[in-house]
């Protein structure tokens, strides 16, 4: 079982990300959960959402405290919230940022596995808005191998209809542009 924690801000679509990832998992015949950090939601405030993806039915109903993967949708959260909290020692941190890796590592005092991509830039170009939730799924798929890239096609088409191709382009670019650093 793989556990993923997503950091974003209210309104940036972290919950949509976990839903799409869960949908892609069941496309592959796997099992999945997606849930927000429980409580009131506030636009703009730091929020978290979570995924579990497993080959077997998932019995666990409690929260995720030691994720395998942490995804940061909003660059401004780095240094503001403790994004590496509980991340497994061999876990992976995937960050949307335009900054060099060293700057991120110094700020977070983090020496583990790190991947970066400028997803906000990609989202602005491909979608016309600086909302990086679908874009970052591409980065997660490339760096984790949780799920196949194609498994996202159907969920994205169903969710976004006529603008699905824009989201797919953004996701594909992040898939190609993300770098382990």
């Amino acid at each position: 079982m793989i556990e993923v924690r997503w950091h974003g801000r209210g309104g940036q679509g972290a919950v949509t990300s976990v839903e799409l990832l869960a949908l892609a998992a069941i496309e592959e015949g796997k099992y999945a959960q997606g849930f927000p950090a429980f409580g009131p939601e506030r636009r703009g405030a730091p929020v978290m959402a979570y995924n579990r993806v497993s080959e077997k039915p998932i019995k666990i109903r409690s929260g995720i405290y030691q994720p395998d993967v942490v995804v940061v949708l909003d660059p401004s959260l780095v240094g503001l919230v403790n994004v590496t909290e509980g991340l497994k020692s061999n876990g992976l941190l995937v960050i949307n940022t335009s900054k060099p890796a060293k700057e991120i590592r110094d700020k977070l005092k983090y020496t583990g596995k790190l991947a970066t991509v400028d997803a906000t830039h990609i989202a602005r170009e491909e979608l016309g808005v600086p909302i990086a939730n679908t874009t970052m799924i591409g980065a997660v798929l490339k760096t984790t191998n949780i799920l196949k890239f194609e498994s996202l096609n159907a969920p994205i088409e169903e969710r976004f209809g006529r603008i699905a191709f824009k989201n797919k382009n953004a996701l594909k670019r992040a898939y190609n542009e993300v770098k382990m650093v």
Binding site: V18, E19, A22, L23, I26, Y31, A32, Q33, G34, F35, P36, F38, G39, P40, I58, K59, I60, R61, S62, G63, Y65
Partner: protein, 402 residues
């Protein structure tokens, strides 16, 4: 053909009500139920569900609308949480006393004061004695399927059913749900045909003040007194387990999913230690049992699915070889212990089940209940049983105060 989608517990409940072709919905939004009433109003607005959605000023009225609509023969649905359910309390008794097959979802949430919006099961447990049947769900598939079964049960027993599922833990968590085909649901649950309805063609005075004893009515017919009427409610619930088990069996045959009838078990057969719970906690307990087994402790789980009517025969059977029992409950009867703990002990009275029983109160007000905590607690209990402790004091899990 399966049609698996990812959805929250609230979405699954709404879909269940839609598949049952409910005719009247009256609900008042309250966290964590709100999404459920919102989706149902969208279904009605879009015409996907041919029902009347009655907007009301509070939960007492929501259930009153359901009582009225059910009395004139409609299949009705409502849902609430926590203090909303408490506000319905008077009408809960009225619905059951009127023998109306209403189905309600209780999206379990702790009650104030102090305020919490988060999950425990104090709200529905506090309604134990209202005459409603209560069914607890462990995942979102079970929510959808149980709503469908609940109408079949309610309309056979002529008693209302509360489908209980944990707020946020299920209501706001997306999980895979296989959506049954509408035609298959209709075959399992034909349209509601009430045996009596209130109609202008046959005006009646329902639920008048009854005298303590039996009395002849204006037509000279000997009618039940209050106590006879109440006895019939109890008699109906005493017999209801047969209906609940057969609805579960018929559902399993039609849809290939067996949720266990009155209760479900997980490796309980050869277990030395049985962990007991209701709802999502019981699912977490199966993960705890796996950990315990890996450590060499033969653990199993019994999930109490139906809390009222209480599965007395079923627990006597499933616990017959139990050597130790630990119970985790998300509610308490203040001044005594967890209600499930009391009920289980009572069910074992007079039998050969002499296993020591340790009751825990867990997860109140949304405190997360983790498998590893259940494992640690179960080991503590086993150690105290080994030291000869027969009836340990109720323990509050992970609670630290002076």
């Amino acid at each position: 053909m399966s049609n698996v989608q990812i959805m929250t517990g609230n979405q699954a409940a709404a879909l269940g009500a839609k598949l049952c072709n409910v005719e009247v919905v009256a609900a008042y939004p309250i966290t964590p139920q709100s999404q459920l009433s919102e989706i149902l109003s969208q279904y009605v607005e879009s015409g996907e569900l041919k029902a009347e959605y009655v907007r009301v000023e509070g939960e007492h009225s929501a259930l009153t609308v359901c009582i009225s609509a059910s009395t004139v023969g409609a299949r009705v649905f409502t849902a609430t949480s926590a203090n909303g359910l408490l506000y319905m309390h008077e009408q809960l008794h009225w619905a059951a006393g009127s023998r109306l097959p209403i189905v309600m979802c209780c999206v379990n949430r702790g009650v104030g004061a102090p305020w919490t919006i988060f999950n425990d099961q104090q709200d529905s447990l506090a309604q134990r004695d209202t005459g409603w049947m209560q069914i607890y769900c462990r995942n979102n598939q079970e929510i959808l399927d149980t709503v469908i079964q609940a109408y079949r049960i309610a309309e056979a027993v002529y008693c209302p059913v509360m489908v209980c599922y944990d707020g946020f833990v299920l209501s706001h968590t997306m999980m895979p749900v296989d959506i049954p085909d509408a035609a298959d649901v209709k075959a399992f649950l034909p349209p509601y045909k009430p045996h009596t309805i209130l109609s202008p063609d046959d005006p009646r005075n329902l639920n008048p003040v009854l005298f303590p004893g039996q009395r002849r009515d204006s037509e000279g017919v000997l009618r039940d007194g209050y106590m006879e009427m109440r006895y019939k409610l109890q008699a109906a619930l005493d017999k209801a387990p047969e209906t609940i088990r057969s609805a579960n069996t018929a559902f399993a045959e039609a849809f290939g999913r067996n949720h266990g009838g009155m209760l479900w078990e997980y490796h309980a057969n050869d277990a030395d230690l049985i962990i007991v719970g209701m709802g999502s906690l019981a699912s977490e307990a199966t993960a705890a049992a796996d950990i315990l087994r890996a450590e060499g402790i033969k653990a199993g789980v019994v999930g109490i699915r139906v809390y009222r009517p209480f599965p007395k025969e079923d627990v006597r059977d499933v616990f017959r070889n139990a050597k130790a029992v630990v119970i985790f409950e998300k509610s308490i009867s203040y001044g005594y212990e967890g209600g499930l703990c009391s009920d289980l002990k009572a069910a074992f009275y007079g039998t050969n089940i002499k296993a020591p029983i340790h009751g825990y109160i867990a997860g109140l007000g949304g405190r997360d209940v983790k498998a590893r905590e259940l494992v640690a607690a179960a080991k503590d209990s086993l150690a105290s049983f080994d030291r000869g402790m027969v009836e340990p004091k109720t323990t509050w899990l992970s609670t630290f105060t002076g």
